[in-house]
Symmetry: C2
Subunit: 474 residues, 2 copies
């Protein structure tokens, strides 16, 4: 992926794009309108790059024509959902064409009999459950950014989310995809089938491929019966260690699989309460767990959350609050959902990580964070999906440092963090992806053989390296 081999978008190419999608759906030679397409939600300016042209197609066929053109002209193409990613997946690192999926935002069909829904890639994830709530069904795979992200981006990143402990991540729910390949062909993968072993699982290879192996134009998702009740427990602890220690034990000793087990340390909660102007009586706790259980049997649910509460209290919880009504639940979850945004406002000199380790290794991981903080003189507010072993450690610069020092020291901190993660059997990213942000570190946790297998797949699907170059691996 040598940038020198790519060509620029000429006025002629822009005209041809206008003929494909319609003039009003092309942005060209207008930096102010192009700029929002240069970035995703990574704080700071490091992972930004301006596109030469933005195209907003309305159909799979239009995308296929764009890909044909791009291959012919050797112009890189970067797919873009809502731009809510956290690894630079939607950033056009070599310029070229950004293809925004925002116009392809239709919920095509709700199939209640088969408990499936067919949507276009540009549907905001939250709209799916809004549409389904009267049907007694729900889509369980959505991530924390559900209010803004697109379902197509969720599939491209194999997004995780708040309910993954019990329900798994996006991939479990993707039954079918209509894909435009990097060479401009349209292919149907999977379908309305619960099981399917008719050939290689190219469908699941596409899920999590970060927009480098194809555009998703139609997505068939599996739905679940909507649980009638959800109860959230907010459990306060004096220390992170106490909170984290209890997480694996709830599942192994308690035999309960909660819907969510979210961890927030003191700094994460405080920052978010300030940001939301929320005054919670417990904002000064040392750490908290937000644990949800859901189900359609109220008595069973009560047993479950009482058992969880007992486990937490035995583990040193100072308070266990029960939120069994939507208003209180929403107030708590709003904090959890806004942590990332709140933290990102502290300083641009920070780096949000997404490491994942075997769940039982989380307590060790948290202890090691303390050592890293001490050694490098940084703070690491920490939150995330403790039940999955997925921690969003956020490395925040010492406020006294210069930009230069921060950029010098950060890679050293990351290398140490990743080495530790690997030693514990973990890896770089649980749900945010590699993108351009973590590309240079992927070799720290996976083998060259694995990278070569990925390269072989990429070369096979996209011989010209036209689709989303500069991501995941070189």
């Amino acid at each position: 992926m040598n940038p020198a081999k790519y060509n620029s978008v000429t006025a002629e190419v822009a005209d041809e794009l206008k003929r494909i999608v319609g003039e009003k759906f092309v942005i060209f030679k207008d930096d102010e309108k192009l700029e929002p397409y240069s970035r995703d939600e990574i704080p700071g300016t490091e992972y930004r790059a301006m596109p030469e042209v933005v195209v907003r197609p309305g159909t799979a066929e239009e995308i296929a024509l764009i890909m044909n053109l791009a291959n012919r002209e050797m112009i890189p193409v970067t797919p873009r959902g809502a731009g809510s990613g956290l690894s630079g997946g939607a950033v056009p690192v070599f310029g070229g064409i950004v293809v925004s999926m925002d116009r392809m935002n239709e919920i095509i069909e709700v199939d209640k009999e088969n408990m499936m829904i067919t949507v276009e890639a540009g549907v905001v994830s939250n709209e799916i459950n809004e549409r389904l709530k009267d049907d007694g069904l729900f889509y369980a795979g959505y991530p924390m950014s559900l209010e803004t992200c697109f379902i197509g981006g969720n599939v491209a990143e194999n997004a995780g989310g708040g309910k993954a402990v019990k329900y798994g991540v996006t991939s479990r729910y993707v039954l079918g995809l209509e894909v435009v390949t990097p060479t401009g062909e349209i292919v149907q993968l999977g379908g309305k089938r619960i099981k399917d072993v008719t050939g290689y699982n190219i469908l699941q290879l596409m899920v999590g491929s970060e927009g480098t192996l194809g555009f998703f134009t139609k997505i068939i998702l599996k739905l679940m019966p909507l649980p009638k009740y959800q109860v959230d427990l907010l459990c306060l602890f004096n220390t992170s260690r106490e909170a984290i220690d209890v997480v694996p034990r709830i599942m192994t000793e308690g035999g309960v699989i909660p819907t969510s087990i979210e961890f927030m340390d003191k700094l994460a909660v405080k920052t978010t309460c300030d940001y939301l102007n929320e005054t919670l009586p417990y904002e000064n706790a040392g750490a908290m767990l937000l644990i949800s259980v859901d189900g359609s049997d109220k008595a069973r649910l009560e047993e479950e959350y009482e058992l969880i509460g007992e486990f937490c209290e035995k583990a040193g919880a100072t308070e266990v609050y029960v939120a069994d009504n939507p208003t209180t639940s929403e107030r708590i979850w709003k904090i959890r959902r806004n942590i990332a945004e709140a933290c990102s406002l502290i300083t641009p000199r920070q780096c949000g990580e997404d490491i994942v380790v075997p769940p039982a290794s989380i307590p060790v991981m948290i202890s090691e964070f303390d050592k890293i903080c001490g050694k490098f003189d940084v703070t690491i507010p920490c939150f995330g999906h403790a039940g999955d072993g997925n921690l969003h450690a956020r490395i925040v610069s010492n406020p006294d440092w210069t930009d230069e020092y921060w950029h010098d020291i950060l890679p050293k901190i990351l290398v140490e963090l990743y080495a530790l993660t690997k030693k514990l059997g973990g890896t770089l990213s649980g749900e945010h992806g590699i993108g351009c942000k973590r590309k240079k570190y992927i070799g720290h946790v996976v083998s060259e053989v694995y990278i070569n297998l990925m390269r072989a797949v990429k070369n096979a699907f996209d011989p010209n390296h036209i689709l989303n170059p500069g991501k995941i691996f070189d």
Copy 2:
């Protein structure tokens, strides 16, 4: 994959194999001992082929050396688990080397804290749960042939099974694989992580690749808390149609996801009862559903099975038996597990199919079977995982036909069956795979673009087409 390009196994090659794995683990020039490696569980003799040599390695490193040798000498290699497959995946269609995984049969580690188990490929699937039962954990992905099949074969075929309605199929539980690639490299994919988006999902591309993309030498499986109770309902109906109609409604209207919803028609049950010498009072029912629910809350379970019983009775069930003890449960499940074997003994002129359709289309599919039976004058005993839309229709020859006529008419019946399946949104195989048996029909249900993507992956991983050639696609 032109067979002419492959070389034969010479005495020198056999000697080199003996040096790699040890002399006593190589079978060469001994047709009687080689013969069992020429076939799997497909009835009849059509899909059989003799290997030239059988090798039984003990380590991943030995397999890597075998693959290096095979690439150098251009000799095809076919991996073999327990040989319990139903699509010819383990059949060495071009002769060459069969690599039997039976010696790599160790349960390496039970990790209770992380609820994961690490096993070698040659472990009999049932042994996993035998080992786990005292730990309050279980592996939910196993198929019906659990008493004989190997876990490696389950992963290679992405086996489904009795519990897939609630728990999903094998792929959901595969967290990590150690793989020997077709070019003889050893690579670790995934690991003890609940979530992982560090690069392409090569792990799930391997699952279900039918031994054509790599050998699995270590497998890390996710475990679940063992439900304390299981109740089985045996629901008798006058007609298949009545039984099948109720299946999707239990889940959509009832909001209950049973562990299993197995369908058996009259012919399937009668044949199996005769085979097992079992005299069930209900052997004359027109059709039956075997529905299981599991959980750790007895009261909830009772509510669930009562609700299911009511749905069945409203749908026309003549009897609903409740088996809430292991002895009665085992008696019923034994029938279900033995249907395939019992049917296969009726006549060698039969063809076991594995079609899968959207669950709500099962009633239509069953009606269409009747039409096919009428049109072609065959019988189709039918059973399978009705809750997944996966039916094991077994096309049985009219006893008056000659072998010649049967071999002439069968492809016509299959083409009609597959066309119908495709029309209903279904496909060739839900869990048995394509192998060499269904290869010639794959183009009837999937597109050339999809086949080309699979070809590209195969070429990228196995440029010499050494590993398990002649399977899935040409």
